[in-house]
Amino acid sequence: MSKVRVLVGTRKGAFILTSDEKRQEWDISGPHFAGWEIYHLKGSPADPDRIYASQSTGWFGQLIQRSNDGAQTWEPAGNTFDYDGTPGTHQWYDGTQHPWEFKRVWHLEPSLTDANTVYAGAEDAALFRSTDAGQTWQELSGLRDVKSKLWQPGAGGMCLHTIILDPNDPKRIFVAISAAGAFRTDDGGETWRPINQGLKSPFELPDPTAEVGHCVHNLSMHPSRPDVLFMQKHWDVMRSDNAGEMWHEVSGNLPSDFGFPIQVHAHEPDTVYVVPIKSDSEHFPPDGKLRVYRSRTGGNEWEALTNGLPQSDCYVNVLRDAMAIDQLDSCGVYFGTTGGQVYASADSGDNWTAIMRDLPAVVSVEVQTLP
């Protein structure tokens, strides 16, 4: 019987939840790394027992942890993230130039084929790669050649938060940065180009259609159709049918097109999930109702999924890495909130249950589908 392992990162530690394919009863372990911020944990597709975790605090900085036994035990890996060459400067909150400074790792993306290769998305924004299981890290600095003087911090900092590896082309990688936009390499990370055509940011940028500078919150792709990308931007839900060459808006009938995460169903490439948030100044759901919205048409037509979710007086947020999809036949959808709940649906979002609550604010949720 298959099972699932949900990896939850919070402001004060990590929690690991496991269940069988029914996903009704859950075993919980944690807190792992109690008291530390766990921005992200992710398992290797090549070896599910290999899991990487990003651990940090304002006191003691950044650590990377690695498990070789499915999160039962952990060992510290390398935590030296040196920018390549002279790091240079980027735009600061006040419009002046500010030196590049490493702060933390937001996202870890293990290789699809090699358990010892893993990518790290950093703040200040940069992409690092390790080929020795996280012991040493090298920056793919060609990314910062793409007009990085114009990049600037979003409200959460200037972070590289999304890394998508193309399953059909090992040299193609997509990343997204707040607030710089989306970028693509077709040569394994040597050279990059912005893929932001079609994005419009009239409230955030003096030039609403600028080549870089957009506050992209999250990207998602279905592995069977790697040229189709979905984006939750600061405002607007977007879609590209040509690997980011051009985007068009698919916000449709959403009650708000502001939000953070976006995910695609495991078996239906045109089924997409978002969690609308009222606005950039009010980071909670519209009308105090926590609603996941699902489109079965690749965008534009959205339905509210509410069964089991609080429909009054709910003022939590769902952060960009805090939603995940499992691979079971009846696709599971999971998300965590800043109010410390982790919700799960074992039926593509029709019905939801809080599988854990009263946690510290949830920063990230990932799920592994295990044989």
């Binding site: 304002g58 006191w59 900085g61 650590l63 935590n79 409200a155 959460g156 707040s178």
Partner: protein, 109 residues
Amino acid sequence: MSTIRIVLPQHLRTLAHVGREVELQVEGPVTQRAILDTLEAQYPMLRGTIRAQGTLERRAFVRFFACEQDLSHEPPDAPLPDEVVAGKEPFMVVGAMAGGTDAHQPADG
């Protein structure tokens, strides 16, 4: 060779799998730098947690106390008090009261 006692904050004890106090054999003049170099050599997982990687500067929200004095702003190569050198008093690595948050890191991002 001096036997130096170091007290670590809870998070770093957990990380290094040690108790409240660690004893180190420090060669040569006993300074902040000598103590931290020895500590990091013996417990490499602590690299980057007390001093920044590369610059080896004290992290902003880490403090060094000894003999009821705040030595955080002393030069890293200044001699430490005799009581620390003699092992009578510990060199304390402390997480600052003001620490743990980043002024530019709002809760939602």
